[in-house]
């Protein structure tokens, strides 16, 4: 696979690892947060930490669209499937997210809900065309990467005059979440996060560009490197962050020059702002209510807004009390600090948000890194 395999080359990794090891200063720790679950997954799956010096630590951030979906949002989707009898189309990732009453979309499906996995929102449009007698709702989750396709689909449904298609919009915004981690009330209660720099998600920046991160770099004096999702990209970004820290810089650097520009994809941006507008506030799992951190469908496309169409009222539901996701998403705690990690909370029966997707901190650790805990116990 061109432009994939080259960025997974073990030999080059060795060189980069050596370079990082050579450049880190022994007298300090480097705590970097990879914001995005895609990075978390890549780090775990390729074993990147094994190639890092012990004083470079990666903190898994909240950038997994599955992990951050609060219970109340899943409840709405389940309600649509079980009570409003719609065909609910969703990316596969959402199926096991725990909801109220011990349910999940997978369990709701087992109870008879017509819940279908789709690979793309266009498949949901097709299902709507094929079942004119049924309401079809697309459960739209995701960050800035996944939002433009939803915008295209809504515009297409409008153009076609598709009467039975709507969207349960749960699209969220990366920069707002990062800001929340740095300065929210809750963050202060949990203790300040000792983050020395951020790895920014390249895919988000293919759309929004690298520019929106300039704020953090300047305001919070945090270095940011926008990096691709292959393990070499991550290593390279770490090297770039180490250098910024060592040199006392706090800039936005772009490792993913092969597809990220400062301004991003303006066509996609325009489509998104045509269809969506900012929500005043949105609840995130683990982070709580975060102002202006999500999108909703504009008035002009109200017909395609499942929340209006089915008169859905969002009901916040508290997370499992034992769940430490909030602290974990801020890097204050590690998955193993959670009392129910690996016993009550497992990927088969996730209790908290981080255990759901393989991009979640707890799940990634459970699936790929559990052996390390055993070694420290032994």
């Amino acid at each position: 696979m061109k432009y994939v395999d080259e960025f997974r080359d073990g030999k080059v990794a060795k060189g980069l690892a050596a370079a990082i090891a050579a450049e880190v200063r022994d007298d300090r720790r480097y705590n970097f947060m990879e914001f995005c679950g895609g990075h978390t997954h890549a780090i775990s799956r390729y074993g990147v930490p094994d190639l890092l010096p012990p004083n470079v630590r990666m903190i898994h951030g909240p950038g997994c669209p599955v992990c951050v979906l609060p219970i109340g949002r899943i409840d709405l989707a389940i309600k649509l499937a079980l009570e409003h009898d719609v065909i609910l189309c969703t990316y596969a990732d959402t199926l096991r997210i725990p909801a109220s009453g011990g349910l999940s979309l997978m369990k709701a499906k087992a109870q008879g809900g017509d819940i279908r996995m789709v690979y793309a929102v266009t498949d949901a449009l097709k299902i709507a065309r094929d079942h004119p007698d049924k309401e079809v709702v697309f459960f739209a989750i995701g960050f800035e990467t996944t939002t433009p396709p939803t915008a295209v689909a809504i515009k297409q449904a409008q153009a076609e005059g598709l009467k039975n298609f709507s969207v349960l919009c749960c699209h969220v915004l990366t920069p707002s979440a990062i800001m929340n981690i740095l300065e929210s009330q809750q963050a202060r209660e949990l203790g300040t996060v000792p983050i020395d720099g951020f790895i920014g998600p390249a895919h988000v920046s293919t759309v929004i560009g690298s520019r929106p991160y300039a704020f953090f770099a300047e305001e919070y004096r945090k270095p940011v490197v926008i990096a691709g999702f292959e393990p070499l990209d991550v290593m390279q970004a770490i090297l770039m962050l180490v250098r910024q820290v060592n040199e006392g810089r706090a800039e936005v650097e772009n490792e993913f020059t092969r597809a990220v520009t400062p301004e991003g994809n303006t066509k996609a941006q325009n489509l998104v702002s045509e269809v969506f507008e900012l929500r005043r506030s949105f609840e995130w799992r683990g982070l709580g209510e975060v102002p202006y951190s999500a999108l909703k469908i504009r008035e002009g496309f109200a017909d395609f807004d499942a929340e209006r169409r089915f008169h859905l009222e969002y009901q916040p539901v508290p997370d499992n009390k034992a769940c430490e996701c909030g602290a974990i998403l801020r890097g204050v705690k590690k998955p193993t600090d959670c009392k129910i990690f690996g016993t009550v909370c497992t990927p088969e029966n996730p209790m908290g948000s981080c255990m759901v997707s393989s991009e979640g901190a707890c799940s990634a650790h459970y699936t790929y890194g559990r052996y390390k805990d055993m070694e420290t116990t032994a």
Binding site: E6, A18, A22, G37, G38, C64, A120, G142, P149, F229
Partner: protein, 91 residues
């Protein structure tokens, strides 16, 4: 979920539809979010949509940079052991 993969455009049909190839596997994608994509271009594909084009020159540059990093004298002197805590090493 955050899966996004570079793939080569091998066919462009009407209505912003294209077929991309990744290592011999072909898949429909929408080009609705990108402009002026040509057959032969690499695009980054996410949930069935091309998000952007991939710039081959920049990719080469990045790869060169990565390779170079490992060639510094300090880097060469250090190696990482496989299975540092394993009880049997691999052969």
């Amino acid at each position: 979920m955050c899966l996004a993969i570079p793939a080569r455009v091998v066919e462009i049909a009407e209505k912003d539809q294209a077929i991309v190839d990744l290592g011999g596997v072909r898949k429909d994608v929408s080009l609705a979010l990108v402009e002026d994509v040509q057959v032969g271009d690499y695009v980054i594909v996410h949930v069935g949509y091309a998000l952007t084009r991939l710039d081959p020159e920049e990719a080469e540059k990045t790869l060169a940079l990565m390779a170079e990093a490992g060639l510094t004298p300090e880097a060469i002197s250090i190696t990482t052991p496989p299975f540092p805590h394993g009880r049997e090493s691999m052969h």
